[in-house]
């Protein structure tokens, strides 16, 4: 192919091609960096998630009369409902940003594998989830005078969030491309993510009730299997969701 030499085109020689795996990870890192930089500036996604999460906890306080006795049994459930609701808000917003100025097309035009886009979005969404969880946990601990800082519980929350976000990112990419995009995500997401939630709630409440690792382990194993299965399948079908 003939190259034209001009002040713009001669830079082509400087545009080097890195190995494909390195550029795959570079693309993922670029997407995560972009999401975090934009969020750091606007803070609209995180603040919405956080305020919503705190409101959910407040409402549960009235709805369930969270006295000491009930608290022990329902804390895990309340926590996960909070994360799930706040998470939906974040997932929706995170994908809507891509759709607003046609940015999703911009991502698809880049010479990177579509799975890099998927994993990039998953990691950004996970970071948002983790930040919200890192704030909700101490607030809940203080408000209800229970210690939630148990290594096991934190591990379960991390694992559960991975499975939830893996499916959620895929379905949010679907939801933003529909006419009913604002309401569709929770309807699509909740019924299919139940296995992850059941295992996560069970494992969390196991740790909260002070059960031994041996008793909680089956749930954690399940959680790990679900994380892997859902991530793998979502990654395989993501192409069909973004490509026409």
């Amino acid at each position: 192919m003939k190259r034209h030499s001009s002040s713009i085109t001669h830079h082509a020689s400087r545009i080097t091609r890195h190995s494909s795996l390195a550029s795959f990870f570079r693309a993922i890192a670029a997407i995560v960096w972009k999401d975090l930089a934009a969020e750091l500036r606007s803070r609209e996604l995180l603040s919405a998630m956080l305020v919503f999460a705190l409101l959910v906890i407040l409402i549960f306080n009235f709805a369930l009369e969270l006295d000491v006795k009930t608290r022990a049994t329902v804390t895990a459930g309340v926590l996960w409902v909070t994360f799930v609701f706040a998470g939906t808000l974040g997932l929706n917003r995170s994908m809507a940003i891509e759709k607003d100025r046609g940015c999703l097309d911009g991502l698809l035009l880049a010479p990177v594998d579509r799975s890099a886009i998927y994993f990039g979005k998953v990691i950004s969404n996970l970071v948002f989830m983790f930040i919200v969880e890192a704030i909700v946990l101490p607030v809940y601990s203080v408000l209800y005078n229970t210690n939630l800082f148990k290594l096991g519980l934190i591990g379960v929350i991390l694992l559960g969030s991975v499975g939830y976000v893996a499916v959620g990112t895929l379905l949010s990419a679907m939801a933003v491309q529909t006419r009913t995009r604002d309401v569709l995500l929770p309807i699509l997401l909740f019924p299919v993510v139940i296995p992850v939630l059941v295992a996560a709630v069970k494992a969390s409440s196991g740790f909260l009730q002070g059960l031994g690792l041996a008793e909680v382990m089956p749930w954690i194993n399940q959680l790990i299997v679900y994380d892997i299965v859902f991530t793998a399948v979502a990654f395989m079908v993501f192409d069909y969701v973004v490509e026409e």
């Binding site: 830079h11 400087r14 545009i15 960096w33 097309d105 010479p111 026409e244």
Partner: protein
């Protein structure tokens, strides 16, 4: 540079492109004209590898679509009527992001050049959200030329721009074309396109129905040619 043979695109039962043939030589500036709903945007989206053809062969810069999409994407710069930019990032950050997606080395220097080219060097630290429509569109062109593509696709780039912004855009478009790039642009603004492009193709009912070059057109009016070609079909 671009070869399209017997391209068919169906959306469900609706056939939008019906066996379209299209060739562009290296360095040509082709304006695709046609009424609304003729399939211009669909055609451009297929060339841009954003949509899959139902049937037919496409070859851009020596690579086939959709099998060698990644190679085609490296050589392609696309500007649509949407800016494809992030509002909460600055002009420079947007270019940094897309530069990383294209894996461009010595990116900082390249961004300086591109911002200079589209006349936004002074606004590099401002959020894209605060930009006027014209500035966003100029930055969108900056984004599209960042990786120094051989082929550029413009889908109605003048949409929603005022007179000044249009003139500015035309200046950049001429600049881009003057550097030997192959350009395909859709438009329904004949007056604007008339002294930009070197070739004019009319897309109607899913096929190219007429084609002329500026030299063939001579002193006669592009509007007359366009009307005539639509009446014939």
């Amino acid at each position: 540079m671009i070869q399209v043979r017997k391209l068919v695109k169906r959306f469900g039962l609706k056939t939008v492109l019906r066996g379209l043939d299209f060739q562009v030589q290296e360095g040509e500036f082709v304006a695709l004209l046609g009424p609304n709903g003729a399939g211009k945007t669909t055609f451009l989206r297929i060339l841009a590898s954003l949509a899959q053809p139902s049937l037919g062969e496409i070859c851009i810069a020596g690579y086939a679509l959709p099998t060698q999409a990644a190679a085609v994407r490296r050589r392609l710069g696309v500007v649509s009527h949407m800016p494809l930019l992030y509002g909460d990032l600055t002009a420079a950050e947007n270019l940094v992001f897309f530069g990383r997606m294209y894996d461009i080395s010595s990116l900082d220097q390249r961004i300086d050049e591109v911002l200079e080219l589209v006349g936004l060097a002074a606004r590099r630290r401002d959020l894209v959200r605060t930009f006027s429509r014209g500035m966003q569109q100029r930055l969108a062109i900056g984004r599209a030329v960042l990786h120094d593509p051989e082929v550029m696709l413009f889908d109605e780039p003048h949409t929603g721009l005022d007179q000044d912004a249009c003139d500015m855009l035309d200046k950049i478009l001429r600049d881009v074309a003057a550097r030997g790039r192959t350009v395909v642009m859709t438009s329904h603004d004949l007056a604007r396109v008339e002294d930009l492009a070197s070739r004019f193709d009319v897309l109607s009912r899913g096929v190219i129905t007429a084609s002329t070059t500026r030299s063939k057109l001579g002193q006669s009016n592009l509007l007359d040619f366009y009307r005539q070609s639509l009446q014939e079909t």
